[in-house]
Symmetry: C2
Subunit: 203 residues, 2 copies
């Protein structure tokens, strides 16, 4: 069940800092993901609720959009080239769809951390376990609000503070019955080293 914390809106649920959740999103329902304090990232993954071998695919989505940055009007496709989520409204306009969720290994390999946090990967693994989804099934996430700059010539990437300001949001419509996994990101590099919550609403 989703973590439910105090917010101003009783229909809004809160994902506490450095944690994750999973829930069902029925076809036609909208999911609004809000950055309540600004400059925070939420890694989102989605699976066909009837067959969790079908999951979001950055490779298909980027190919069909013709862009590595998706925004309002774009569709997130599955590995079977079926529409899973449609971006209805996007107040921020910059998200990442190239990186896997941060993990113990990310912190170990990239940041030489001896005793690393289990990251968004670990949080998604825990949240998705009751849905029968295994760690190996976690794909490249749609990293909402994550700001990854890419150098066209060298391909060098830089993880920058998100462009999202407090209260800004993105709304996605489910194009099939889905299981959603979502986090409030655990990597300091993604949120300017100020670990914060993420809010969301289903409507």
């Amino acid at each position: 069940m989703p973590v439910l914390c105090e917010t101003n809106d009783v229909n809004t649920r809160r994902i506490p800092p450095r944690s994750g959740t999973a829930f069902e999103l029925k076809r036609g329902q909208n999911l609004t993901v809000i950055d309540p304090e600004g400059e925070q990232v939420s890694d989102l993954v989605a699976y066909n609720a009837d067959d969790t071998q079908e999951a979001i695919s950055s490779g298909r989505s980027i190919d069909y959009a013709g862009r590595i940055f998706l925004t309002t009007g774009d569709t997130i496709y599955s590995n079977r080239s079926k529409p899973m989520l449609h971006i209805e409204h996007d107040e921020v306009g910059r998200h990442d769809f190239s990186l896997t969720p941060c993990s113990r290994d990310t912190f170990r390999i990239l940041y030489d951390d001896d005793n690393p946090h289990h990251g968004c990967q670990g949080n998604l693994e825990q949240a998705l376990h009751p849905c029968g989804i295994l760690p190996d099934q976690i794909p490249i996430a749609f990293n909402i609000f994550m700001h990854v700059a890419v150098d066209s010539d060298t391909g060098v990437i830089k993880v920058l503070p998100p462009l999202s300001r407090a209260g800004q949001f993105i709304t996605l419509r489910a194009e099939m019955d889905l299981i959603i996994g979502m986090t409030a990101c655990s990597a300091g590099q993604s949120n300017n080293f100020r670990f914060k919550p993420i809010d969301y609403r289903i409507h």
Copy 2:
């Protein structure tokens, strides 16, 4: 078994135009992928031979390299953050690691093709089937020689003719026992609409 055609070198195997193959690559073995005529793409996927749920991960590899374009000295990691392939030598220096193999759906959605070719996806599905690898297990490929330009500001991608000239190659060393799937690409956009073979050598 790999497709074996006539080439000048008896140790070199040929993948005919618009087809694919699969083979084992033992830890420590080198795989050299050659573009015999120039401007052709080979989609490469790799799996842990002992547990095919472990496969190459563009998201992990790009994160750890800090670059979306991999070349000599870079490592291709698995979804479990284990090194799978190390790029020993790269004569071209431009490959894509953002897109999934072209498929019937690619040709239908992007090119309005009524009777589409089954693409690299179909070729990989057929080649990997005897290894017990299912279509849903085909990840974002390491698209050797594929030239995808990215606009830093808008994220717009353009598939351009490969930079590879006739005879140029890349050599990758296996860091674990692997099953490799590989194609001679079926998408005209990737090879300047001149469908050509791909050669490879294991040494």
